[in-house]
């Protein structure tokens, strides 16, 4: 990757995939022999990872459905208001991150930095908001070991937060590269993959919120 940044190497669309041979896969990364990995493989990898995460949450939710039906000891959880703010913050962070990603494709590097930074800050804000929500629930007497509804709330939100922390690591690494002007075309995959996973966490969170607002 050239170190000197010019308009031609800081912007533009992500690198195009090599022409697919008839019927085959992308083949080895021909420009990086023996390294493995390619843009297509990274995108597939993140999709597959999202499937794995979805299965984990599906298992939690199915356990929740069964557990609720087992006994009459289920007490609905009054959700702290801050969770609605957190939802808004997470969606806004997703919008900021995606706007940045689109701007980068058009070569608008400085604007990308701004939007990505806002997205990262909002993402961190979401985590801080979650901590406040857990604290508020604790103050109202809803602990992990209490009612099954609160137990499942903590399980699902902790699992989601663990995902957010992992994703924030990736988003912050992109941020680090961006601020050092090291985000050339060869690192676009990282931007796209982080953004895709960040959106996935949005959807996951909306699902969790929906579950607790309308059902649990």
């Amino acid at each position: 990757m050239p170190r000197t940044l010019t308009q031609s190497n800081i912007g533009g669309p992500p690198p195009t995939l090599p022409e697919f041979p008839p019927g085959g896969g992308g083949g080895d990364d021909r420009d990086r022999p023996d390294r493995g990995g390619s843009r297509a493989a990274s995108i597939t990898g993140i999709i597959v990872l999202m499937c794995a995460s979805s299965m984990t949450f599906a298992a939690f939710v199915s356990a929740m459905v069964v557990r609720r039906g087992l006994n009459n000891d289920w007490h609905a959880l009054g959700l702290p208001r801050i969770l609605y703010w957190n939802t808004a913050i997470l969606i806004l962070s997703s919008i900021a991150i995606d706007t940045g990603r689109r701007l980068l494709r058009r070569g608008k590097r400085v604007a990308f930095n701004w939007f990505w930074t806002v997205g990262t800050l909002l993402g961190s804000g979401f985590l801080a908001g979650q901590v406040i929500a857990w604290k508020q629930l604790g103050e109202r007497g809803f602990y992990m070991a209490g009612n099954p509804s609160s137990a499942f709330f903590y399980v699902l939100t902790w699992a989601h937060a663990a995902h957010v922390i992992g994703a924030l690591g990736a988003v912050m690494y992109v941020e680090y590269c961006a601020l050092r002007y090291q985000l050339g075309p060869s690192r676009r995959t990282m931007v796209d993959v982080s953004a895709i996973f960040w959106h996935f966490l949005d959807v996951l969170w909306l699902g969790i919120m929906g579950l607790f607002v309308f059902w649990a």
Partner: protein, 573 residues
């Protein structure tokens, strides 16, 4: 035919391989981890078999090893159960999952599809080290001052939840066991992601999905199955750890009394654990066996010098087995108080798996039928796989029916069934793969004479050990009991149990031939030629030409040789 010696990457730098991201180096690490695990697993099984026929024997070194669990040298029932737990866990996770999928998948898959590496080499190495850490934690769970966990590899609640009050090893030991399994799940997920991305995106030019060797298809399908099953185990493990450590009540019912104490949990369900566990546990059976099926398909075609019979059917059979395998977890719970209507549904679906399984078996036989068979050790193990898979599979038809399962479920019939169909069959697949790909791993050949001796004795030993267990099961001999001598109704089955123990010791002793062969051949084995088995797939090819044909083009008329490699143009026509 003079052929140049095979080049292996980093053969002389084994220890550097501990941190190498090269797929062959990672494969070797998995191979040796599994080897260590299987040796330990076998030794544990011998301890169990010894105890079953000599329950009152005083063994000096038992007392030294387990001052509490074997006070005075006599093994307590709790120690027996903890050995049973460790044996099952080691064999299912660290042998039957790691060796066929992770070791051989890493070794062969990228090369067979024409990729130079796995899609994420660093992630691949990380998966290995997480698996190794998981193994270390598992062993630590057994080293606890109060012994190892007692709840079997299925860790049924509430025994696995309520803590030290349930018995020695149920305190810290069981907690560590769950951490080990959680780590293993993460490792398996990372491996699955790697394999799926590699197959989808890194296939070389011309390698269409329908030109992939059946080995790759089966690793691919197995990885998808891992991807769907292990997250559920991970989730269930997280919930049960919260029950143990966080005071929640997911799996412990209200008002549970253990000993003379009430357990402070409310309203959970042990059945919920069984559902979650078996949603993982049944696919796990196929995670263990599907790679073996791929290896066997590949090898039978090679050593019969014939194209595989029904390639597409074999692919679809693997996919169907995996799909149906996700829907039949309830057949492990027929006697757990399952609704009889769901039992019927699970039973019907279970029977349906017999169709693709039978199809595979028939295709293996049809492939070998009329072929120019080469009875190498690898081929013998492949044929042995077909034999034990059919034998073990047939007893599955009995167990898949709720009425019969009600009787058989807690007997040795089940032990016989799963050891043959999943344990021995999968291990035969591993042995076949080891003999076949040893040259690829280490550049040398295993000794065929010792290999054949090992095969015949193992084949006889496996049947001699596990076939009689069916009869013990018919007689109502319960499994998981540590001592049959105190029950009058079991007295008639004791000679059978003694026979099984003797066979098991012989079977284990025979494995020393394999170990001798393995370690001797590492240094002194004959140097491997470039394509020792005259195979068609790309792992033996030194050319990087695009793939132009399917994987099983043997005995083509008009050709100079009886096979064409996948990337080789025809010269004959």
């Amino acid at each position: 035919m003079e052929t140049p010696a095979l080049k292996t990457k980093g053969r002389s730098r084994f220890f550097a391989g501990l941190a190498s991201t090269d797929h062959r180096a990672v494969a070797r690490l998995y191979f040796f981890l599994s080897l260590l695990a299987v040796v330990l697993g076998i030794l544990l099984s011998l301890l169990m078999r010894f105890h079953l026929v000599f329950p009152q024997a005083q063994v000096g070194w038992f007392a030294k090893l387990w001052p509490i669990g074997a006070e005075g040298g006599v093994m307590t029932p709790e120690l027996y159960l903890s050995i049973l737990t460790l044996h099952g866990t080691i064999m299912v996770f660290f042998v039957l999952t790691l060796a066929p999928l992770n070791a051989f998948g890493n070794l062969v898959l990228p090369e067979q599809i024409g990729a130079k590496q796995m899609a994420f080499p660093r992630l691949n190495l990380l998966s290995f080290w997480i698996a190794a850490a998981s193994f270390a934690i598992l062993l630590a769970s057994f080293m606890g001052a109060d012994g190892g966990p007692l709840s079997g590899w299925t860790a049924y609640a509430p025994l696995s939840v309520v803590g030290a009050i349930a018995g020695p090893g149920e305190g810290l030991g069981q907690t560590l066991w769950f951490f080990s399994i959680a780590a293993f799940s993460v490792s398996s997920l990372l491996t699955a992601i790697n394999i799926i991305a590699t197959v989808i995106d890194l296939r070389g030019p011309g390698m269409t999905l329908m030109r992939m060797p059946l080995t790759c298809w089966n690793w691919f399908v197995t990885a998808i199955l891992s991807l769907l099953a292990f997250p559920v185990l991970l989730a269930a493990g997280a919930l049960i750890l919260l029950d143990r450590l966080g005071g929640t009540s997911f799996f412990v019912p209200a008002g549970l009394l253990v000993g003379d104490q009430t357990i402070q949990h409310s309203g959970g369900s042990p059945l919920l654990w069984q559902h979650l566990f078996w949603f993982f546990g049944h696919p796990e059976v196929y995670i263990a066996i599907l790679p073996g099926m791929g290896i066997v398909s590949h090898l039978i075609a090679n050593f019969s010098r014939k194209p595989i019979f029904g390639y597409k059917a074999m692919v679809w059979a693997s996919i169907s087995i995996a799909f149906l395998g996700l829907l039949v977890w309830g057949h492990h719970m027929f006697i757990s108080g399952l609704n009889p209507y769901s039992a019927i549904a699970f039973s019907l679906l279970t029977m349906t798996i017999g169709v693709p399984s039978a199809l595979k078996t028939l295709n293996w036989i049809a492939t070998a039928w009329g072929g120019s068979l080469r009875f190498t050790t690898a081929m013998l193990f492949a044929l042995g796989f077909v034999s034990v898979f059919v034998t073990g599979g047939l007893s599955g038809l009995f167990l898949g029916q709720p009425q019969l399962d009600a009787y058989f479920h807690d007997t040795y019939f089940v032990v016989a069934h799963f050891h043959l169909v999943m344990g021995i069959a999968a291990l035969f697949g591993v042995f076949a793969g080891t003999f076949y790909w040893f040259p690829l791993m280490f550049g040398r050949m295993l000794d065929e004479r010792l290999g054949k001796l090992h095969f015949y004795l193992t084949f006889i030993g496996a049947y001699a050990t596990f076939l009689p267990m069916h009869f013990a099961g018919f007689a109502g001999n319960p499994r998981r009991y540590s001592d049959f001598t105190t029950f009058d109704f079991l007295a008639p089955s004791m000679p059978l149990q003694r026979w099984i123990t003797h066979s098991a010791f012989c079977l284990a002793a025979v494995q020393l031939i394999f170990l001798w062969n393995l370690f001797r051949s590492l240094r002194r084995g004959a140097t491997a030629p470039a394509n020792p088995w005259e195979a068609t797939s790309l792992e033996w090819s030194e050319s990087e030409s695009p793939v132009v044909r399917g994987p099983y083009e043997y005995s083509l008329p008009g050709e100079a040789r009886d096979f064409l490699m996948q990337n080789e143009e025809s010269r004959g026509y």
